[in-house]
Amino acid sequence: MLFRIVERKWWYFLFSGALLVPGIVFLMLGGLKPGIEFRGGTLLDLTFRTPPTSQEVYAVMNGLGHGDALVQRAEGGRMIVRMGQLTPEQEGAVERALEQRFAQDVDRSSQTVSPSFSAELVANAIRAVAAASILVVLLIAYAFRHLGWGAFRYGFAAMVAVVHDAVAVLGAFAILGHFLGVEVDSLFVTAVLTIIGFSVHDTIVVFDRIRENQKLYPGEALNPVINFAVMQTMVRSVITSLTTLLPLLAMYGFGGYSTRYFALALIVGLVSGSYSSIFNAAQVVSLWQEIEDKLRGRPRGAAPAAV
């Protein structure tokens, strides 16, 4: 049993493109919706025994001079109120007013982030992603250090896979943000960083097998070697992703709303990561080789230069 994985590469690239393009469009049009941590302001998460309407809650906020408040119903009879930064005194006043108005205990969680601190958190997030990207490049360079300049194609392909997975997650959340108002927070950034790690790792496992096989079968053309390597690693790659996916699905379904979208981001990234490591990364290496062959006028399918 041997799939013609490399030969059908354009179909796989097309499939990736079809999945990624909508996300990219939404990323460019609206981008990600920053949460309270990255935007600054106050978020109140209120749980009522008998939930009032959002208009009633807004009336209370407006009465206290917080006309900018956005009141949203959420699952479990909760009410999410977002507004500009409140001082602790103002927050206390809001809470007292709510309990008085609705004559009941209101379970409250709240988060207030000052605009200057949120700017710092955004800068931190960007720094973390930048640092992770640099480390990814270094890791790839290290993994293929024996190949000299030949390592470029592998490094490039691994980067393509990483970008593929990151864009898949970012795009998915741009779409979710547009239609469902899903916001991104530092947990989301964590998810993206974790996915970057997974993705590189998955890809390197495939590339390792390609290298191993090239040593085992010297003189063999690149495409069959790649096919064989991808086949060999596919089972492990799929099963490992599956066993990681199962707890994430449990977290998504039962873990409560605070970690729901974190789990979702990881799920999207994990699925995308498995796909890209099987159907994209090695194919990019093959494409590189074919273009190089064409440029140098070598017959297609001949053995590559010494690796």
């Binding site: 049993m1 041997l2 998460d45 602790p88 005194e89 927050e91 206390g92 379970d107 409250r108 969680s109 709240s110 988060q111 207030t112 982030v113 000052s114 200057s116 601190f117 710092e120 958190l121 931190n124 720094r127 973390a128 640092a131 992770a132 530092s186 947990l187 950034v189 964590t190 960083l193 974790t194 790690g197 590189v200 790792h201 390197i204 496992v205 390792d208 096989n213 063999e220 070697v225 089972v235 492990r236 099963i239 490992t240 066993t243 990681t244 996916l245 199962l246 707890p247 994430l248 699905l249 449990a250 977290m251 379904g253 039962f254 873990g255 409560g256 605070s258 970690t259 974190f262 990881l266």
Partner: protein, 453 residues
């Protein structure tokens, strides 16, 4: 895997289970809760318990920023020193409030993380943390009538002895705060009263005037009182603030988070449910797909869960929602090493090797990938831990610990179980490994390579 190995593994399991038991009825070893050790002159005493983060047990969390830009120009105390002094002051204030297990940590140079479990009143927490309580006494400025000026150097509350509140006036209804200067300010206080007798002195707290009493006579000691139309509450608060000292720099709240304890408890319940379901799903999959080795991997996974939880309680790791997410995620990754081993094992079995040889070969050939893959995850959690704040750190820590522990359980425990199983002839069936029985006449033949390679 012979000799001592199994005993050590079993011993670790027993210790881990002991650590995991919620309440120890028997306080081992010296009748103290948890662990007590004396190493030379260092004394380690640690209670074994699960530390829950604020998002899980409820309370108030503040991130405070040192407003160094508000310091008078020319003050050149290093920011780390200011941070440390500020933390000490806040610590004293929190202690006199009686909050149990507060967390006061520096984050970077210019920020302080303050966690107050069980404190629901954000306003009160904010006051305690940010009131600078900078007391200053000013004297009339001769060149500008009606105005006050600082002494040279300023006379502040820096050397005050502990203050207390009494009730003065008719019906003892007027609360006042008594103070006393320590050396050398007590002498300056007396000198000031000589110089300005009959004139008012201004008492300011954080730059605002509280009162401006007239000096009626020359003082004989460093004692004095502050009256300022206090209520009992505000007088006590002022006394408390003065006693814990002034913050060396004004603080502002960069971030405040408040979680209702009931919501935290709900989050714990949901996370535990999600974790158990995740574990069951992984277990079901492993048994269905890998059969006997899968079942052993599940045993190793339970071992892993028990050991990791024990590690969280011992280190101790403060569990947050994100931390639990990291733990749950690591359950899936914990079986990765088993998957690698079992896939190799199947390959070896299919190529016609005996069970024992296949086990050994499988272990040897899978080990580099396992080591590499675990190292990669541990490195990425180190990066997350280093760059992250709060939530991210919690996630990175539990993920990293989880993966490190899983390396041990997958490599040592699963292998040990697999080998132990070989001693039971009934279990030595290839079908139990998901591989067809060895066909006759095809012994020891190398696996057929796919065509074209």
């Amino acid at each position: 895997m012979t000799g001592l190995g199994p005993w050590i593994v079993a011993l670790i399991a027993v210790v881990a289970i002991w650590v995991d038991i919620p309440h120890h009825r028997f306080d081992l070893p010296f009748g103290c809760p948890g662990i007590c050790l004396r190493l030379g002159d260092r004394y380690i005493q640690q209670e074994i318990k699960t530390h829950l983060g604020l998002d899980l047990q409820g309370g108030t969390q503040l991130i405070l920023r040192l407003r160094t830009e508000a310091l008078p120009p020319g003050s050149n105390t290093p920011i780390d020193t200011l941070n440390e002094q500020a933390r000490k002051v806040i610590d004293r204030r929190i202690n006199s409030l009686g909050v149990s297990e507060p967390v006061i940590q520096a984050i970077g140079g210019d920020k302080i993380l303050l966690e107050l479990p069980g404190v629901a009143d954000l306003d009160q927490a904010a006051k305690v943390a940010t009131q600078q309580a900078f007391l200053e006494f000013k004297v009339p400025d001769e060149s500008k009538p009606g105005q006050f000026k600082s002494l040279e150097p300023p006379l502040t509350g820096a050397n005050l002895k502990p203050t207390f509140v009494t009730f003065e006036g008719q019906a003892q209804s007027n609360p006042v705060v008594h103070f006393e200067f320590g050396a050398p300010d007590d002498q300056r206080w007396v000198d000031m009263s000589k110089q300005y007798v009959g004139k008012p002195v201004q008492i300011l707290l954080d730059g605002r005037q509280i009162s401006a009493p007239n000096i009626r006579e020359v003082f004989s000691s460093g004692k004095g009182i502050i009256e300022g139309g206090f209520t009992t509450q505000s007088a006590k608060e002022l006394s408390l603030l003065l006693n814990s000292g002034a913050l060396p720099v004004p603080l502002e709240i960069a971030q405040s988070t408040r979680v209702e304890p009931t919501l935290g408890a709900e989050a714990v319940r949901q996370s535990v449910v999600a974790g158990i379901i995740g574990l069951l799903l992984v277990a079901a999959f492993m048994v269905a797909y890998y059969r006997l080795p899968g079942a052993l991997a599940v045993l190793a996974l339970l071992y892993y869960a028990v050991l990791t939880y024990a590690a969280f309680r011992l280190i101790p790791v403060t569990l947050t929602l994100a931390g639990i997410a990291g733990f749950i995620l690591s359950v899936g990754m914990a079986v990765d090493a088993n998957v690698l081993t079992f896939e190799r094992l199947r390959e070896e079995l299919r190529s016609g090797k005996s069970l024992r040889t296949a086990l050994d070969e499988g272990r040897k050939r899978a080990f580099p990938s396992i080591a590499y893959s675990n190292a990669a995850t541990i490195v990425s959690s180190l990066i997350l831990f280093y760059f992250g704040t709060g939530t991210v750190k919690g996630f990175a820590l539990t993920l990293g610990i989880g993966v490190a522990v899983s390396f041990f359980t997958a490599v040592v425990v699963t292998q040990m179980l697999l080998h132990a199983m070989l001693s039971f002839p009934a279990l030595r069936k290839r079908s139990l490994f998901g591989v067809e029985e060895r066909p006759q006449g095809e012994l020891r033949q190398p696996a057929a390579r796919p065509a074209g390679v």
